[in-house]
Symmetry: C2
Subunit: 648 residues, 2 copies
């Protein structure tokens, strides 16, 4: 995962032994050596074989890697990422034009390893692979909640494993300015809560990413989402900024002043400083959500707009963007921004990142703008991996013309951070991002959701082996919530629940930066295995609802098991006020499970329910859909199908 563009398999395999060793021919460099080293570490871990970590010069090693050259000094979107990988009875062979291509081949190699009898083998395959889109990104919002360096590093490890190649680093927000400026030290000293990346950190991360074939695109939000800039340097403000960073979330009313020359001097010096840290040819200036009430009321700004024939805020923002674009061009950087920067006044070499949707992206492409799709890949929507997976950045049904289609560079997963922190981020990002990564890399026609989930479960374990905590965070949080290590029943209870969407949580909780993110909702994972399992079982059961079928038994057993967990959990709630928050869910679960089991019985036995049963149960389901403890039942849609299938 992601599935290669082309794979031919034959019967049999190459058996891995402790002699398995990499040899580089034609070309070698330290970045390639590093990738080989990491690959061998993973192979050691997977097979238990004491493989040698160093590449060898001998030509007898069964893994040969033939790379034409290092690739670009600064990885661009045109970097050749293709590779071929063949496994024969004599060994494995990787060929690539660049080190980045070879890295992708090595990641594929790791995933090929499988048990066979008492050995581990590489199946015999011939793979020709290259990405469908050149821009395959993951954005992490480090503004609203700071993420320590080790979290970002393990995120990059996970990205490399699934061939994502752009780390979009959201570095500034109303709630915190997270990157050190030596020219403007107040940006972090006053504009943050003390948590920020030093320039050394940032350089280290850029180099860590490059070692893994990943570009780093930094984002500095302007003119909106910039309260932190203005808290630190009030002269930049269009109006009266607050005196300290915001702790609450939501769109702020504080924009930079686009009418003062000093603003551009500041931005030019600041971006110039950032350009010495971030070598990527792209810089992201944000640009979204700029209500800018001050632009309508500040007499100086109103006068400026009048003088420059700028009829509204959008026109003023376009003026601002034109000025910033000039600065970026001077720094040899391309501009990237969110939908709102889209304006005919801007030249065609800016890139639009669309959070509004495919239509907005297509609109940009029609006007000649390059674009990246993000709208369907918002992880905080808490949608299933399967939903994200089926959203295509450029479906063949799109009405765009061939030349316009080329303008769609790819997609970016977005992980906004209002409702997460270092202790919970992994389970929000992984494994769902792996499914989206496949969408960005693999051919459009790879859309088998069943097969995706099967493989997602496997890669999830690989990601855990790389140091990600997405599978362990839940247990750790449940132990802390319950104050005991006896969480067998609580774990079962929790497996039937998942976090509600960002919007619903925000509405219910009024989450702020000061909210402690250690409630039950923070423990449970989005799209946990139970959701898909029950949906799938329900589907097959309803197709041929036989009594005593395996599907019926599995469904009934699952509902019985989750219902049986409740008494223990309710006892634990008596000793934990924080766990008691889910009391209502605990009360609802056994009743819902009973409804499910009754429905299954009615359907499989062909008996009819008494009149009114269905209406009363549908009402029960509706009640259970109402907000409670900002978590929802993973099986509620399946239960709805079951109840609706009952005959009265």
């Amino acid at each position: 995962m992601p599935q290669p563009a082309s794979l031919q398999a034959s019967a049999g395999g190459f058996v891995l032994t402790s002699q398995f060793r990499a040899v580089t021919t034609h070309f070698d460099n330290s970045r390639l050596d590093g990738a080989i080293h990491r690959t061998v570490q993973q192979l050691r871990q997977k097979t238990g074989l004491p493989l040698s970590l160093e590449a060898t010069a001998s030509a007898e090693a069964p893994l040969t890697i033939e790379v034409q050259g290092a690739g670009e000094a600064i990885q661009s979107i045109d970097e050749n990422e293709s590779y071929t990988l063949s496994v024969t009875p004599a060994g494995a062979h990787i060929e690539a034009a660049t080190v980045v291509g070879a890295m992708h081949g090595l990641e594929t190699l790791v995933q090929l390893v499988q048990p066979s009898g008492s050995d581990y083998i590489l199946p015999l395959v011939s793979i020709h692979d290259s990405p469908r889109f050149p821009w395959r990104g993951l954005m992490i919002d480090c503004g609203r909640h700071f993420e320590p360096m080790d979290v970002l590093k393990r995120t990059l490890d996970g990205m490399a494993a699934v061939k994502l190649n752009v780390f979009h680093w959201h570095l500034t927000e109303d709630q915190g300015f997270r990157i050190e400026s030596k020219l403007y030290p107040r940006l972090t000293a006053v504009g943050s809560d003390g948590l920020y990346y030093t320039q050394q950190d940032a350089r280290e991360l850029v180099s860590y990413a490059r070692a893994r074939g990943i570009r780093v695109v930094p984002e500095f939000e302007m003119p909106g989402h910039s309260t932190a800039w203005q808290v630190a340097y009030p002269k930049l403000a269009s109006g009266n900024p607050p005196t300290s960073i915001r702790r609450d979330f939501g769109v702020a009313d504080y924009e930079l002043d686009p009418t003062r020359e000093e603003t551009y001097q500041f931005i030019a010096r600041f971006l110039g400083e950032m350009a010495t840290i971030f070598p990527d040819p792209y810089m992201h200036i944000g640009g979204d959500e700029t209500p800018a009430p001050d632009w309508k009321t500040n007499p100086r700004i109103v006068a400026f707009m009048h003088a420059h024939h700028l009829k509204d805020n959008a026109a003023l923002q376009a003026y601002f963007n034109t000025r910033v674009l000039k600065i970026l061009t001077g720094l040899h950087k391309h501009m990237v921004g969110w939908d709102e920067i889209l304006n005919p006044a801007l030249p065609k070499d800016v890139v639009i990142q669309s959070w509004r949707g495919e239509a907005s992206l297509a609109q940009g492409a029609e006007q000649g703008y390059q674009g990246i799709l993000s709208a369907p890949y918002y992880l905080d929507a808490m949608k299933p991996a399967g939903t994200h997976y089926l959203a295509d950045p450029l479906p063949s049904s799109s009405s765009l013309q061939p030349q316009q289609r080329k303008l769609v560079l790819g997609g970016e997963i977005c992980m906004w951070a209002e409702q997460l922190y270092a202790g919970t981020i992994d389970s929000r990002v992984w494994p769902r991002s792996a499914a989206i990564a496949e969408r960005f890399w693999s051919p459009e026609n790879i859309t088998d959701v069943d097969d995706m989930y099967r493989r997602l479960n496997v890669i999830s374990i690989q990601l855990e082996g790389l140091g990600l905590h997405h599978l362990t965070q839940e247990d750790a949080s449940l132990r802390e919530l319950a104050g005991t290590q006896n969480i067998d029943q609580l774990r079962i209870f929790a497996s039937a629940l998942e976090p509600v969407s960002f919007g619903e949580r925000y509405h219910e909780q009024k989450t702020s930066q000061l909210t402690v993110l250690n409630s039950f909702v923070d423990a449970v994972r989005p799209d946990p295995p139970s959701r898909y399992k029950i949906a799938r079982l329900t589907e097959t059961f309803l197709k041929s609802p036989q009594s005593d079928s395996a599907d019926q038994a599995a469904l009934t057993h699952w509902f019985e098991t989750v219902a049986n967990s409740v008494p223990t959990v309710e006892k634990q709630m008596q000793h934990s006020p924080r766990l008691a928050e889910v009391q209502q869910r605990a009360q609802q679960l056994p009743d819902l499970a009973k409804t499910a089991m009754d429905a299954i019985h009615f359907i499989s036995s062909g008996t009819h329910a008494s009149v009114g049963w269905k209406a009363s149960k549908l009402a029960q389901i509706e009640a259970a859909k109402k907000p409670s403890a900002i978590v929802r039942f993973t099986f509620i849609d399946s239960l709805n199908l079951l109840v609706n299938a009952v005959q009265e």
Copy 2:
């Protein structure tokens, strides 16, 4: 945990609200602020209350902290670590002479928090606390396997939580020299596998430790365990050192040459450099295990010994130590070394760390040497926490005189690293170290093992909240071993097994630095909950073996559950060669469980087994005690008791 020296509790408690806030009176400094910040973070996590992270100047805050002064600029063994903590209906109050004392008080405060109805409270208490021993250490061997900085940092977090105050950093070994020397760069360039701490890392760790009231005592092994020095600088060798670091373990035959002046010049310059990094007044020179065959055969060394009237290797080592002591004295450092440095030729201000046992420690004290006990605290012996817990560094039964008793400074837990790495260290160190920490801090008469285990289970969760992975490593490893996330049954199976001792594993596996430490034995934890639980149930059941008692039911249920896990696990073994390693254990488990259930039945029903039953079952137990997959059954001693209690 550790239990305070004196605690008086009264009924009721102080209810924590989001207004709870710390105020420092009399004195404040940044180290204290840092400790308060960490405390509030923990309180937020524990209670979910959005407590303010900053201390306030207002006197109305319900947590007042009164500290007399910063304490010593470089924390010594004489640092005043005492504190008082009182909780009244009006709030909490901590008093201490030093910041270190206040830190201990804050750690105690965190542990006091408990649920009460729908609130979290601090119970009303009055605590006067100070440590029994001034030296409460944990040694981590970073030579044989390197531990990344984040592992060491979370270890220090755990140490602070249980009031350990010495991090003994074992930095050099035959298998790797782990600390950067700018004077002698080959020490790491040639004398390691590339994994080492930079001087900046080391300074960072010293400062991280100081912020938590922990001293850092570095160890540089000499003249033995020094292959890495000699690989890098062959001139230091007594004989012919190898050309690369050792990968196998066990005592090496390569000692530094104690007869050449250049050796001492080298040591003097190197230790001088280290003294600029490590401010602690103590430096550890190792000194253990020096077979030194070259000292008997190298003609130059033999001639030197003759000329200096040094009759044997021990005398030559004493000469060496005297010379090194002079260097350390010049650096204003006290010398610490293992038992072997004990020699009447050495002045009395060296400290002996005893890995040989209480007798050796007492012998040192009788001769006037200060000592630290380590022998009973070797974590790689894979002994139960309860065993370590009951080993006292200075039992009241000791024959030492009052003046000699003062020479026993305390104890040190030792975590040698032949058989662990970053992925497994946490479950080897924690939570057992917390039990030993209590032994070092609390009064001698605190020896209730039941109560210790009860509290250990609680603090284990707190340690997990600090970022330690001791409770999650097992699941992560089991998932990787089985290649599936369905580990419910495998988890149950694994819960009945634990790693064998260091010695047995070494014998069976011939572990080397290249061994991949990801077998089943690496997944399971020493002294897992099942061991103590079954031992305790067996004990109470045998005391009054009634049919239908709760003990009988719990015991039978447990054995039934673990036996029932086997079919699923055996199926998983078919798809995992690495998991299949435990096949024999899986075969043995159901039979042993059946024996247990039969025995319980015989005993509780008062029926007799047929003649020969007992002998055959004891033989079965003996067979199960034989090595297999370097893991052992946690219940085997209990089973033995049960079978022996059956009447024929």
